[in-house]
């Protein structure tokens, strides 16, 4: 039997090959067949998640809620010291210096990344802004969102912090961070579906010692992860409860 692995579409383009290396490492370690399928759209991936296509997913916190509570997935690990944080950025020459400077009609460049969009909108609340009084334009990637800021087509842009930091030096030098979230406890996690549940103990053991051998360490580096940390059911439920409080 071949299992199916997918990755939340918000991974950095530089790490695409890393996920293929990870898939090869997983197959050799667990001695099973795994097919990796990557997406550039959250919506398309979510459709396939609902169609029960996957057995193993590196999921963003928003999708983790559906995977765990509706589809019976279990979290086995999370990347060490890599919380998901959101940045609201402006053009470096913008007159906006705090969220409270933003006004009704503000043009927002966002993506279909659900966590980042939700957190970005929450950070606008202190200026009395919400989806009813701002102009939201969804872009296909953070790079396209950044370009909109730079050419003056948007007033603010929402970015996953990691993705913002991986934008080119040239792009970042022409932008300024207005505000960044400091949540700390919301993060991506590796989730295993019911069909693959029997492999959880072996998978968890392999993941938690992955950084100890040269090959595993190299794979982690290519994915932009230093090491994995264990994640139990209650930690996962706590994170999902927290996400639930943020969704209206």
């Amino acid at each position: 039997m071949t299992f199916n692995l997918s990755v939340s579409p918000d991974f950095a383009p530089d790490h695409i090959s890393g996920w293929y290396f990870f898939n090869t490492w997983l197959q050799r370690t667990l001695d099973i067949g795994i097919h990796l399928e990557l997406y550039d759209s959250f919506e398309a991936q979510r459709k396939d998640i609902r169609a029960d296509k996957f057995d193993l997913i590196y999921a963003n916190p928003y999708d983790a809620s559906m995977l765990v509570r509706e589809l019976g997935f279990q979290a086995v690990a999370k990347p060490a010291s890599q919380p998901d944080e959101t940045i609201i950025a402006v053009n470096a020459e913008s007159d906006f210096h705090s969220v409270e400077d933003l006004t009704v009609g503000c043009r927002v460049a966002t993506t279909d990344d659900p966590d980042v969009h939700t957190m970005g909108m929450i950070m606008l609340e202190s200026a009395d802004l919400d989806s009813s009084n701002v102009e939201i334009k969804q872009h296909s990637s953070y790079v396209v969102g950044a370009k909109n800021l730079l050419n003056g087509d948007a007033d603010v842009g929402f970015f996953l912090k990691d993705a913002y930091e991986e934008l080119s030096e040239l792009i970042r030098s022409r932008m300024r961070v207005l505000v960044g979230s400091e949540i700390s406890v919301v993060h991506h996690s590796l989730l295993v579906g019911p069909r693959m549940a029997e492999y959880i103990p072996a998978l968890q053991t392999a993941l938690l010692t992955m950084q100890d051998d040269e090959k595993g360490k190299g794979v982690l580096e290519s994915m932009g992860i230093t090491s994995w940390e264990p994640m139990d059911a209650e930690q996962t439920e706590f994170m999902i409860d927290l996400i639930d409080t943020l969704i209206d």
Binding site: E100, E125, S184, F238, L242, T245
Partner: protein
């Protein structure tokens, strides 16, 4: 800091719904809510704090060991009407999410405003506690809440 803050100090006896009371020094000084932070806490079903994140510790002025094991009402400011908390408990008691604006009391008697959301934590069909997440409210919402709570408090 609110434009109406005077920095004045007063001593107030705060009575809680469970019949307990405490005398607290109240200072009319607002602690600004930091941008981008979320205050997160969890309680057991009786409202006893079981988890507090760093933002909660920083804003409340209590250390973690003082918060864990304390009733969540340790944060109740005397300017908050009891009816607001009754609505909270009625709502989460029905298993629903509660949202509201709350003036919280710091350990040193100063205060901070939050937009709070509380949800019941259900595990295997059983209520095991509540998660509360607080975020930065807008100035307009704070001003509206101040007027509303003054009216409600006067009616109590």
């Amino acid at each position: 800091m609110s434009e109406q803050d005077t920095g004045e100090m007063r001593t107030v006896e705060i009575a809680y719904f469970d019949g307990t009371k405490r005398t607290a020094a109240i200072v009319d000084r607002e602690v600004p809510y930091p941008d981008g932070k979320l205050i997160v806490s969890r309680t057991d079903p009786q409202g006893v704090i079981t988890h507090a994140n760093q933002a909660f510790i920083d804003m409340s002025g209590y250390c973690e060991s003082e918060l864990i094991g304390a009733k969540h009402y340790i944060l109740r400011h005397p300017d908050m009407p009891a009816v607001a908390f009754k609505d909270l408990w009625d709502t989460i008691g029905r298993g629903e999410k509660w949202n509201g604006y709350v003036k919280n009391l710091c350990k040193d008697g100063s205060y901070y405003w939050v937009k709070a959301t509380v949800i019941p934590n259900i595990r295997n069909g059983q209520l095991v506690g509540y998660t509360s997440v607080r975020r930065k409210p807008s100035r307009r919402k704070i001003e509206e809440s101040e007027v509303l709570y003054k009216t409600l408090l006067a009616e109590e």
